[in-house]
Point group: C2
């Protein structure tokens, strides 16, 4: 639910959110956690990507998930089967997670687990290609998924998401033979918006591209850990109320 007209209110809102995101990130850094914010349209495959990711990476990294949905714990229940902590946040009428909601999730993570023992938190955002891109939650990297079925023009029509992402996964590649989608054109349209992001075509069904995705995750974790040599500063640091 939204405010669209009051520019000053918008700036205040984003400013307050940014302060909350910075606060969350400070805690992630103190705990030695690398946080990924996964965003896409509904049904592009965030949850199945996380299922594949938890199945493979949970043997080498200590993982947790913060799962955002307007309502239901359907996705959270799917992910709990992989034996990692999953905190479900229902956003109600809100179309995106914001820093305050994620701080609430971190409080619950702190109560139920020891965050300093974790290495990665995946945040699965509400399915929406517009608004999640504007609300940082304290992540170290933004991951956007675009399903091959959504069409080549989406990077041009939803520019903020494609500009902000550090990694772009083009999902459902197994459907390529049955679509008229032109992968090169999708990549060229992404490049118009973002010259830096890593682009990985993937299919959860065939496994195409998943190794490249896992390697990208590993690299980000290493990069984050190198940038904060004194990790696990204090396992007891409480997450202050925002």
């Amino acid at each position: 639910m939204h405010q669209t007209f009051d520019a000053a209110l918008e700036i205040n809102l984003l400013h307050a959110n940014q302060a909350g995101a910075d606060h969350n990130r400070a805690h992630f850094d103190a705990w030695g956690i690398t946080c990924f914010n996964l965003m896409s349209s509904p049904g592009a495959g965030k949850t199945v990507l996380l299922e594949k990711t938890l199945a493979t990476l949970s043997s080498e990294l200590k993982l947790a998930v913060i799962e955002g949905d307007m309502t239901t714990e359907l996705d959270a229940d799917r992910l709990r089967q992989y034996g990692v902590p999953v905190i479900a946040i229902n956003t109600g009428r809100s179309c995106h997670l914001d820093a305050k909601m994620v701080a609430g999730g971190l409080h619950r993570l702190e109560q139920e687990h020891n965050p300093a023992e974790l290495e990665v938190v995946f945040v699965e955002n509400v399915g929406n290609l517009v608004c999640p891109a504007e609300f940082e939650v304290g992540e170290h990297a933004k991951v956007a998924l675009l399903s091959l079925t959504e069409g080549e023009d989406k990077p041009l029509k939803y520019p903020i998401m494609f500009r902000e992402a550090n990694c772009l996964l083009i999902t459902k590649m197994d459907l390529a033979p049955y679509l008229e989608a032109d992968l090169q054109r999708i990549e060229a349209n992404i490049r118009q918006m973002n010259s830096q992001a890593t682009i990985i075509p993937v299919s959860a069904r065939t496994g195409e591209g998943l190794d490249a995705w896992f390697n990208w995750v590993r690299q980000q974790v290493s990069k984050c850990n190198r940038s904060r040599p004194h990790r696990h500063l204090s396992a007891e640091t409480p997450l202050a109320q925002i």
Copy 2:
């Protein structure tokens, strides 16, 4: 861009929007126009559905389109090829059309065409399964599209859209052989949210279901026209500034 926390502000915002929507609808009614608001996730097939609809129905009904996108006129340009008036609205950072934006579109329609000669206006909303459902724009019927590729759980996870819709099109049915989607389960999940809506599985590629969709549009137009016997009250009625 959004406000999520201030309940009073939200109520004021929706209240103001509703007044604008009622105002737009009064003009549609005075002009004898039936207005449809098309909503879905990005890439579910709103624009291709409109292409098929304009190609078939423009010989029997006087049509126009108000086309909402965050940026670009890509979709508007696709639809202009069908020889009907197309008004493009760029919403900028806003993730939905609201009544005021559509009123602006109606002003432009009034300047460039005679609305009293039109019978149908299709509003194509921004691709977003969350927020457009809450902002009426003056439509007589809400149409939601759900692509078969998006998954069976979406009616449960995005309840407002599925509760509000008068017609639900399940799109990309031609991909059914290549997916594990269960159409009966999708329909059952929709029915949990909405016992009344017309549900039509369609494929723009094979033509499946399009006749049923065209007939539903024709029925809505007839129903609207029967409910306002004095149509075309005044072709000169100006659209007052909101």
